[in-house]
């Protein structure tokens, strides 16, 4: 049973130079209790998808088409007041820089209690009790609820953010680069915590990160984004083992690893396109080592190649063995 269905989402940013086609027809589902990983380089549209779901796009951002169905309700038909009911109560978000997301002059407990009071209309002492429970849940000492953000370490602040995201018992938590600025050991402590909470609270999660290794280790399903489109989408294991899209294969090939034979890494030449004027045909074709004439002319169809494994490439069959063998 999917908690979230995103269908054909199109989001633009209106700029003086013209509309930026930031998200261009993206579809995916997140099942109950599962983690969906959204990966890709800076500017590929990962965060825009998150903000579109939350209804928190900046003032020049517009959802131009598609459907976002959360727990049976279409979010795009809702006005701001109705959205406010959904935000935090059904879906919440954990941002990257916990230091910037918290108010430095208000103690953290108060910041969380505020969200609870506003959304649930409960009494103050009730809200504070809940804050203590939440602290316990994210493995922080409940006595520290009255501490200020600077009194916590980076990892602890991220726990505070998670506590805040869970304050109204949402079904879905979107974590946008939640561990990027942290050291690996603390990263894993946070990922373990999220995994643990997911099991206990039957939470669904969208994990947005540029780090494929983290996706590989934590996600059930994966979407690989490039220039506003999903290049490939499906279960994590087959995508890492037998990628069907040249971009996925190239991205994995650019990652150093501490296991296995030490190998030469290949990079993807060039840079992602400007999305005011995206390339014709397949958006990856200017950088694709396997591109042929048709790739610049016709957009490949986004198709289910095997059960639940989607991609959009003109040469899926021809490249199947090349990409599997790591011939990025």
């Amino acid at each position: 049973m999917p908690v979230l269905e995103v269908e054909g989402l199109v989001t633009h940013y209106l700029t003086k130079q013209g509309p930026v086609d930031a998200v261009s027809g993206v579809s995916f589902t997140v099942d109950a209790g599962q983690t969906f990983g959204l990966a890709g380089e800076s500017g590929c549209g990962k965060t825009t998808i998150a903000l579109s779901i939350m209804g928190l796009l900046p003032s020049n951002g517009r959802v131009m088409g598609g459907r976002i169905i959360l727990d049976g309700e279409d979010l795009l038909g809702k006005d701001e007041k109705e959205l406010r009911e959904v935000r935090w109560r059904k879906v919440s978000i954990v941002f990257q820089g916990a230091m910037n997301a918290l108010n430095p002059v208000i103690n953290v407990g108060e910041q969380i209690a505020e969200v609870i009071i506003e959304k649930e209309g409960v009494r103050k002492d009730e809200a504070w009790n809940r804050v203590r429970e939440l602290f316990d849940l994210v493995e922080l000492e409940p006595d520290r609820v009255t501490d200020y953000p600077h009194e916590f370490s980076g990892g602890m602040r991220q726990r505070v953010m998670i506590a805040m995201a869970l304050a109204n018992y949402p079904k879905l938590v979107i974590a946008d680069e939640p561990i990027t600025a942290l050291d690996v050991i603390v990263q894993n402590q946070i990922l373990d915590l999220m995994k643990n909470l997911q099991g206990r609270l039957n939470l669904s999660q969208i994990l947005i990160t540029h780090d494929l290794s983290v996706i590989a280790e934590t996600c059930d399903k994966v979407g690989i984004m490039y220039a506003g489109k999903l290049m490939e989408y499906g279960e994590a294991a087959p995508i890492f083992k037998t990628p069907l899209h040249p971009y996925t294969s190239a991205l994995i090939g650019a990652y150093p690893s501490i296991v296995g034979e030490k190998r030469d890494l290949k990079f993807i030449p060039g840079a992602p396109p400007n999305l005011i004027n995206p390339p014709t045909g397949c958006r990856f074709h200017p950088r694709c080592p396997h591109a042929q004439e048709i790739c610049g002319q016709e957009e490949p169809e986004y198709r289910e190649e095997s059960l639940g494994h989607y991609t959009a490439c003109h040469f899926v069959e021809e490249l199947r063995d090349t990409l599997r063998l790591g011939g990025h």
């Binding site: 380089e41 800076s42 370490s153 980076g154 990892g155 602890m156 050291d183 690996v184 050991i185 603390v186 990263q187 894993n188 402590q189 373990d192 540029h210 780090d211 494929l212 290794s213 983290v214 590989a216 280790e217 996600c219 994590a236 294991a237 890492f240 083992k241 190239a250 991205l251 994995i252 650019a254 990652y255 150093p256 690893s257 501490i258 296991v259 030490k262 030469d264 890494l265 290949k266 990079f267 993807i268 030449p269 840079a271």
Partner: protein, 333 residues
């Protein structure tokens, strides 16, 4: 083989007062008595978590900060004994590449001026013709070609990867032999990161450069480095040949650190060694081994005596009472 860099008993304690009205001083022991050397043409990776002292070590080696104690010799010359003018001369041999090229490049200078500046300041080029020629060559070296397309651009007109190439070109302008690279690709996306790492590898071969490569990312260290040195709270806990340390880390901290590095394979079966808590600040350091409060192998001695870095095998060094006491295993490496 000759030693390019020799570091002996290097210390940097930052003094700060205990409180607003207190006269008492306390010390942040950012770097606390470390010694190592790098052979010519080698890349030594210095890894560890935030606050372990790796960046301070890099800055000390270039004498961007003055040490509390210790010596750093670059090609036989102790740089801490040099006078201002001599140091400026010596600095031509050693350069630094920083994490954030946004901050290290002057936004008001175009690429040409950025690259020409070190030559002008050191009065190296014999005229505009030579200046131009050397700037062109540097841009070709870092593959910012066609050169004409980039030479008049300003930093904000370049992508992150291109800016870091300019920073690398600038570091190479004075033909240094030794480079400290402090997280040079941490701000970049994966594919661009790899492009820059491959470029550094190529330049290293071409100019026979020696590197101290500072990173928090062990997978990246493995890709670029010959040797690995791990720091924890201002101390070196382990060092040795890269593959040996990664395949069989000896110090309990290195073991935990390496086991926590994520790998891009959903089916990899790896056992993670959890560490509780976070690294404390290097102010009120624990007695004995600095890592003992978080160490699962710690014995009684570990909380009493601080272990020194001792040789336990072929080029392998570790600062751990438990490991040093089991030499048979280490000697088999």
């Amino acid at each position: 083989m000759s030693e390019e860099l020799v570091v002996r008993n290097l210390k940097k304690w930052f003094a700060r007062s205990r409180g607003l009205f207190s006269r008492e001083q306390e010390y942040v022991k950012a770097v606390d008595d470390i010694s190592f050397e790098i052979e010519k043409g080698q890349v030594l990776c210095l890894a560890g978590e935030s606050g372990c002292g790796k960046t301070t070590t890099g800055r000390l080696i270039l004498r961007l900060v003055e040490p509390t104690e210790g010596s750093v010799s670059l090609r036989g010359v102790d740089i801490f004994t040099l006078k201002k003018e001599e140091l400026r001369e010596k600095r031509r041999e050693m350069q630094m590449i920083f994490q954030d090229p946004y901050e290290s490049l002057d936004p008001r200078m175009d690429v040409f001026s950025i690259l020409a500046e070190p030559l002008e300041v050191n009065r190296i080029a014999s005229g505009y013709g030579e200046l131009r020629e050397r700037v062109h060559k540097a841009l070709e070296d870092v593959r910012l070609v066609p050169v004409e397309e980039f030479i008049r651009r300003f930093p904000h007109e370049l992508s992150g990867g291109q800016r870091q190439r300019v920073a690398i070109a600038r570091a190479l302008m004075l033909e240094p032999t030794f480079i400290v690279a402090d997280e040079p690709v941490s701000m970049l996306d994966a594919s661009i990161r790899t492009e820059i790492l491959n470029l550094l590898k190529e330049l290293r071969e071409k100019y026979d450069l020696t590197f101290l490569y500072i990173t928090h990312d062990i997978a990246q260290a493995r890709y670029v480095g010959d040797d690995l040195m791990v720091m924890y709270l201002g101390r070196v806990v382990e060092k040795g040949p890269m593959e040996d340390v990664i395949l069989e880390p000896l110090h309990p901290y290195t073991k935990a650190l390496i086991s926590n590095v994520p790998v891009p394979d959903p089916e990899a079966q790896r056992e993670r060694i959890p560490l509780t808590g976070e690294t404390p600040t290097p102010i009120d350091l624990p007695e004995g081994c600095r890592f003992h409060p978080r160490c699962c192998e710690a014995g009684e001695r570990c909380s009493q005596v601080e272990p020194g870095l001792v040789k336990v095998g072929n080029d392998r060094w570790v600062a751990c009472h438990v490991q040093a006491a089991t030499p048979t295993r280490a000697n088999n490496i």
